[in-house]
């Protein structure tokens, strides 16, 4: 009856391909097509500049509060770049660059962030879910989708996103466990951005890594430099291949940093230091990728300027389109839409009450 160490399966790797200066490790460099690399770069620039523009719109009162993504572009973009259109993306709410990559219209994001539900529309060709704000609660929907994919014998995958805070939620553990037990094609992508509003990563868990949580579920887990888009892409590609081949789920921890506030209603100066932000500034995913592509001769100053100019034009067009569209939206009567397949009598009656209330207000309002 000896006492001995149990040898556990599922070792946890750590992966980093680009160094802080964007210098690539040639042994680990993935053979990605130039087109893909340039498209990813453009998508990162778009995500960053759109964030900046939305922040300015918010400060001007032209949209409501929203969750910025700056600093995390590589972590979510690199992951969805390994998906195909028929796969499912199950977001939380800090994956804007990935949503744009998957085909969500920028104008709809603006519309949504300005309080119009219409902005959450998902076009029929996109297999993505809308935002899920209660932290971690969407993880199980990816497990359900993945179960259904396996049941229907498809080789699609369901990839879900969440933050470091979500790994403290029960839904995360139940989702990981379900996916491992049923060996379904689910991919769990944690954007560990170090902060859950004001709570630092060290106060979420004693664990040395988040990736190691996969070990308890007998699931492959990997920790990647989340500010290195090549590392994120490689890890996601491996996970996608595993899932498509019927070899079950994967957990990917992308170590990154939320450079901005949790949402525009938050003031991070209350809980973190400028030094810490400066430390992560040096690890900026966009400049590292830019240096890599420049060294690869895929980019130069002119090309970068052109991309920046194109992106600004695209953003301006989206802002204009959103503001024009919003002029046509906002009929309060629409609040009764999409409640049920068929409107039950209580809603029919209440819709009439609202119509009457609006008519009475209009009548009483001073004319001229």
């Amino acid at each position: 009856m000896p006492r001995k160490k149990i040898k556990l399966n599922s070792p946890v790797d750590s992966l980093s391909i680009l160094d802080l200066n964007g210098k690539v490790d040639p042994k680990l460099e993935p053979p990605l097509a130039d087109d893909l690399l340039l498209n990813l770069y453009r998508a990162m620039v778009l995500g960053r500049r759109f964030d900046e523009r939305q922040l300015s719109l918010q400060r001007q009162g032209r949209i409501g509060t929203f969750p910025p993504i700056t600093g995390q572009e590589a972590a979510h973009l690199g992951a969805v770049a390994a998906l195909r259109a028929s796969d499912w993306m199950v977001p939380s709410f800090r994956e804007t660059a990935a949503e744009l990559w998957r085909g969500r219209k920028m104008e709809n994001i603006i519309i949504y962030n300005n309080g119009y539900g219409e902005g959450a529309v998902i076009e029929p060709e996109r297999n993505d879910l809308p935002w899920s704000i209660p932290v971690g609660s969407q993880i199980l929907h990816a497990a359900g989708l993945a179960w259904a994919i396996k049941y229907r014998q498809k080789d699609d995958v369901a990839m879900t996103f969440f933050g470091d805070g979500a790994t403290s939620e029960g839904d995360f553990h139940e989702g990981m466990n379900m996916a491992a037990v049923f060996q379904i094609p689910a991919i769990f992508v944690c954007q560990n951005n170090q902060w859950a509003i004001s709570i630092p990563r060290a106060k979420q868990t004693r664990a040395k890594t988040l990736a190691q949580k996969a070990v308890a579920y007998e699931m492959p887990g990997i920790q990647v430099d989340g500010n290195d888009i090549l590392a994120v892409y490689v890890a996601a590609q491996e996970a996608v291949t595993r899932a498509r081949n019927g070899d079950g789920p994967t957990f990917i921890e992308c170590v990154t940093y939320r450079m901005m506030m949790h949402t525009t209603a938050d003031d991070p100066k209350r809980y973190r230091t400028d030094e810490e932000v400066a430390y992560w500034q040096k690890r900026d995913p966009l400049s590292r990728f830019e240096k890599y592509l420049t060294a690869k001769k895929l980019l130069d100053k002119t090309a970068i300027e052109q991309i920046e100019a194109d992106v600004q034009t695209e953003i301006q067009q989206s802002v204009d389109a959103a503001e024009a569209k919003m002029k046509t939206l906002g009929d309060p009567m629409d609040m009764f839409d999409h409640a049920y397949a068929d409107m039950p009598p209580n809603l029919v009656a209440q819709k009439k009450m609202l119509a009457q209330d609006l008519a009475e207000r209009a009548k009483e309002a001073p004319h001229g």
Binding site: V121, S132, L140, G144, Y151, D171, H338, P345
Partner: protein, 330 residues
């Protein structure tokens, strides 16, 4: 036609829908090999295999959250939460997602799932095994809440719930599971969700009940007829939300008197909504205050005291007599 218990009738509904539609998946704790702790899913595992009668890990949130994903994909999950007392662990999945995915996604995604769960007291059970919390679910926009009162309507409502395009919470009274047998035709029967039923006609007083409270209400009506010559009209709600107020408001316009019977606590219970609808739609026909015969606003006591908490025939009879005798205000 076979005479069967409510357990057998719901089992029959599940078998018939699973045989007809491969989108229907049963999942939950002990629903597979064991056939469910109340045997509602008995025999499904043998007939439809492990994949369609999924024994899940012990995780209520997981069961419901996965069901939501399965439903979004286009399947028709029927999940079992073993006791409604454990369904609060998955409450947020229903409130935050199942009930509003249609709305949030602007109609692109829907959640046609059924959450089956046993509720109600009267079976000498442990704590957390006897509550009636239908008001929680009935209060959620986007959700439907169904409570059958016997084998035949349970079978028909279950088929309708599975086919419903929106999420349905399906409460099954433990007290009714094996309380009596009823003829249930083999041929398919459905019953429209959102529709109540008159189960006894009468001109003196309107009694509104549902689930396990229907039987004592029917018995009370017999006693009132025999002993007092009072003819009660009884409405079996069957669906709590969306509430069908057409029959009970028409009835109270005729009788001028009403009582609502449920075992859920009094305050903010379904009775409050029913009384409010009667006030809104039949105020000028009411001759007396409307009575609510319900559980008290306490945790339902353990079974040594349970009888005094649950409305029974005697309490219904006495309360209806008092209601009819209450003098009109001067």
């Amino acid at each position: 036609m076979a005479k069967m218990t409510m357990v057998q009738a719901i089992n029959m509904a599940l078998k018939q829908e699973m045989a007809k539609d491969d989108r229907v998946i049963v999942l939950g704790e002990d629903v597979g090999v064991d056939g469910g702790v109340f045997r509602v899913t008995d025999g499904l595992h043998e007939q439809f295999g492990e994949e369609r009668t999924l024994d899940t890990p012990l995780a209520e949130t997981g069961i419901v959250g996965m069901s939501i994903g399965m439903a979004i994909y286009g399947l028709r999950p029927v999940c079992e939460i073993q006791f409604s007392g454990f369904s609060y662990q998955n409450f947020h999945q229903i409130e935050n997602h199942a009930s509003r995915m249609r709305w949030r996604s602007q109609g692109r995604f829907t959640v046609p799932m059924v959450l089956r769960t046993p509720y109600s007291g009267g079976v000498r059970a442990l704590e957390h095994h006897s509550e009636s919390r239908e008001a929680f679910w009935a209060h959620m926009p986007g959700l439907k809440m169904v409570i059958p009162s016997g084998p035949r309507n349970a079978r028909a409502l279950m088929i309708s719930a599975i086919r419903d395009p929106d999420p349905v919470i399906f409460y099954e009274s433990k007290a009714l599971y094996r309380a009596f047998r009823e003829e249930v035709p083999e041929a398919e029967e459905t019953f429209p969700i959102g529709t109540s039923q008159i189960v006894r006609e009468g001109g003196d007083v309107t009694l509104v009940a549902y689930g396990a409270m229907l039987r004592p209400t029917l018995e009370a009506a017999e006693t009132l007829k025999q002993k007092d010559g009072i003819e009660a009209e009884i409405i079996d709600l069957l669906t709590i939300a969306p509430l069908d107020d057409a029959l009970f408001t028409a009835s109270v316009k005729k009788t001028g008197h009403a009582a609502v019977i449920h075992e859920a606590p009094l305050s903010f219970g379904p009775g409050a909504e029913i009384v409010a609808r009667m006030m809104e739609k039949a105020f000028y026909y009411l001759e007396k205050p409307i009575a609510r015969i319900t559980g008290y606003d306490v945790i339902i006591p353990l079974f040594s005291r349970e009888k005094s908490y649950l409305p029974d025939t005697d309490r219904i009879v006495r309360t209806v007599r008092k209601t009819l005798r209450t003098p009109m205000m001067a």
